[in-house]
Amino acid sequence: MREVWAHRELLYFLIWRDLKVRYKQTALGPAWVVLQPLLMALVFTVFMGWLARVPSDGVPYPLFAYAGLVPWTFFSSAVSVAGNGLIAHGPMVTKVYFPRMLIHLALVGVRLTDLLVSFVVLFVLMLCYGVGVRPSILLLPVLVLQATLLAVGIALWFSARIARRRDYATLLPVLLQAWMFASPVIYPARLVPERWRLLYSLNPLAGVIEGFRSALFGLPFDWAGMVTSGAVTLLLLAYSVGSFLRADENLVDII
């Protein structure tokens, strides 16, 4: 950890590089940060909101979906990019020494800046739908932190596995897809039957995303669920960091 801190300038440069080169040769540039979850929200509004008539806790469905997609898009893109980070940075990892974890932190950091941008759009949307901002949004930074820690943890675990076996790289998007449906991204958690609720709240993202909506729209908080999800997040993070550091000893030999 001390080493990561000692290399914080490199972390800054890696994030800066990615932000800088990211949207070269695209016509819309950084607008994609916002467009992607917006388009997804549109798709889900048509199919889930209008066709399937999924309830949305009294919030207009497009806003409901977007508010779920903002944290979800952050999480899933951070995990899929940072999870493949080690092999993507293979040439660098085998030629220069720095704490490997820096790669994951940098890649998640880049997505974090995206998240900030999509927040702006979220607030504009809320304004359009006449949904007022409440003091409960002060909880958002905590939830963002939780999502970040979770993304770092899962990415670390996966990248060590992917370095050894590329099978995990193929598995990752499938898992993320399943994870999205197992999280209250496009439907409210209360649709989950009561007897499955406990199991459901073991999914740490359920607490994050529900918490997100509660904080934004002033819906009641499910404190028990949020505490459970926080605890699961910390456990997963500790396990992943430990497992990554153990694997790290020989990663360079097999990458």
Partner: protein, 242 residues
């Protein structure tokens, strides 16, 4: 004088087939390759140590272990000082970034601080002779320009212990001369340097001492002149046998 680098009984083994597709681990049938076997030596501050040996002898593995990129299978390495290594120049150059941006990025990757890069920036640019192209993305650079910029950053990297792997052979004759002179300056400053090169003449001219590594073992350790001669004689004999 106390040594600045101590290497004791260093061993590194690689398992062939490790991590490869379809290769299962733990079958115990994978062949083990010893890249380094029982290598021990000490280096004093200010020594310039050449490392020679044939391809695959274990030179790069040794440098990677010294740089902390690879962990040894057995043995110990003690380093008393800030170590920086250049196993490849231009590490992390991004084609879409400008020359100026890449100087900062590459500097940070090899271990320079932002302040250090800013201080030396003008010198680096002057050395590379690329003043006019600083704000051009490096993807539009010729390969020679690319190398010049990369070497310029590398040449201004000043850790106490410097590890160099085959980094001299860049650019045209004039630039190579300039790099060589820069290397001599760096040596004069009393830095400890590990220098791997297939350019035997350069090793003899730049290094005071040399190590000869053969099939993972330390075969010779002594004045660069004699060690290089030993290496060349061995290579000639091997060629004659073939």
């Amino acid at each position: 004088m106390r040594p600045i680098v101590q290497v004791r009984n260093l061993c590194k083994s690689y398992r062939l087939g490790q991590g490869q597709q379809g290769g299962r681990q733990g079958t115990g049938r994978d062949a083990v390759i010893w890249a380094l076997r029982d290598v021990s030596f000490e280096v004093l501050p200010g020594e310039v140590l050449g490392i020679v040996g044939r391809n695959g002898a274990g030179k790069s593995t040794l440098l990677k272990i010294l740089s902390r990129i690879v962990r040894p299978t057995a043995g110990e390495v003690d380093i008393y000082g800030r170590l920086g290594s250049l196993l490849e120049i231009g590490m992390g150059f991004h084609p879409d970034l400008t020359g100026r941006e890449n100087v900062y990025l590459n500097g940070a990757i090899i271990g320079m601080s932002r302040g250090e890069i800013r201080r030396k920036f003008d010198e680096i640019v002057a050395f590379s002779e690329l003043e006019k192209f600083l704000d051009t993305p490096v993807k539009y650079y010729s390969s020679g320009m690319h190398l010049r910029l990369a070497f310029a950053v590398a040449a201004h990297f000043e850790p106490e212990i410097l590890i160099l792997d085959e980094v001299l052979a860049v650019g045209d004759a004039a630039f190579q001369q300039k790099c060589f002179r820069k290397m001599q300056d760096v040596i004069q400053e009393g830095r400890t340097i590990f220098f791997v090169s297939h350019d035997s003449a350069a090793v003899q001219r730049l290094c005071g001492r040399a190590l000869l590594i053969e099939a993972g073992r330390l075969k010779d350790d002594g004045p660069a002149e004699t060690v290089v001669k030993h290496y060349l004689d061995g290579a000639a004999a091997a060629a004659a046998r073939d």
